[in-house]
Symmetry: C2
Subunit: 195 residues, 2 copies
């Protein structure tokens, strides 16, 4: 086939990642072969290796891309006047961002055990940086007497787990809109920590 | 081998379930073969089929045993005078119960997609019954003006997700004891819903 390498790689790289994400979310990383990903994309298995050294690299790229996007978007949140407004904004952002990419969120949690130790450490470091953004809001609020928090780290992890749960039950077109759901979670998060 | 069937099955059934649970939690249901479970137990693969028709049945038994135990323990919680005390008791119970069996909790969430549709429906029905126990406490508290809750179902799922998260980070011998952690989560759950 006389396709130009440039356009070929531009089209096929994202297609491979999208196909792999769909299959990993559906059947799990362990159950999906490179051959099956190739079939889903519509290329020969050998062609896959032009784009990725192996399935592990594909998973690692997928997770770091997801967390990189999350960190970047959270860092770009508009400033808010005080920790109460910052927590409200952060919670609404978190819910909206996660509801928009349920497959990536699912894989980011479900497939941690399938990362090599080095890749796991790198992913955990990115996740820790995200948690620290929330923890900083909580600590500021505590310092200003606005929040009452027993343990900032535990509270951070509890709030993130609470908010992440939304992707497991939310269905588009159900009785609550995304923004109603986001407002509800933000309200619970604030009330759980307010002094 | 001249072993009596009675004692044989009494010993090997629980051993098979324990081995399967360990392996499923470590490598995932999809990656673990019946042959490997047999090797872990120290029996021939064929012997496994005396105890379970297949790997799906093993997974389903594991999940329903876990949820059955959870439902039974929650139903046996001592009565509490009002919804505030009931929620506090429920939250502390939930944390303690889950921290005692991290592998079963992990599998109960991670391997849902590997259940057949019929088995999935049965597991979801048990989970729904558990959620309804918490939702009843929230609704009673709302009816008595003790709780302010936008949506009882969403609030139930948010609190359960928040509490379930504890198994992903808690490590025995860390800076917080189990009962400190349970008290902290119960406090957050109460504050998130109190009027």
């Amino acid at each position: 086939m006389a396709r130009k390498t440039g356009s070929h790689s531009e089209i096929t790289g994202p297609k491979i990642r999208a196909a792999a994400q769909r299959l990993f979310a559906q059947d799990g990383f362990a159950a999906v072969s490179m051959r099956r990903i190739a079939a889903e994309v519509g290329v020969q298995a050998g062609a896959l290796y032009l784009y990725t050294p192996d399935k592990q690299a594909l998973l690692f790229d997928m997770m770091t891309a997801h967390l990189g996007e999350l960190l970047e978007a959270a860092a770009a949140l508009p400033a808010a006047p005080d920790p109460v407004a910052r927590l409200d904004r952060f919670a609404r952002f978190h819910i909206a961002h996660h509801l928009e990419r349920p497959e990536a969120v699912f894989i980011a949690y479900m497939e941690l055990r399938n990362l090599t130790p080095e890749n796991f450490a790198a992913v955990e470091e990115m996740r820790r940086r995200y948690e620290q953004m929330l923890q900083a809001i909580l600590s500021d609020g505590k310092a200003q007497g606005l929040f009452r928090i027993g343990d900032a780290k535990l509270t951070t992890l509890a709030l993130i787990a609470m908010m992440n749960g939304v992707t497991t039950w939310y269905r588009e077109g159900g009785r609550l809109s995304r923004s109603e759901v986001a407002a509800h979670y933000a309200d619970m998060a604030l009330r759980a920590v307010r002094a």
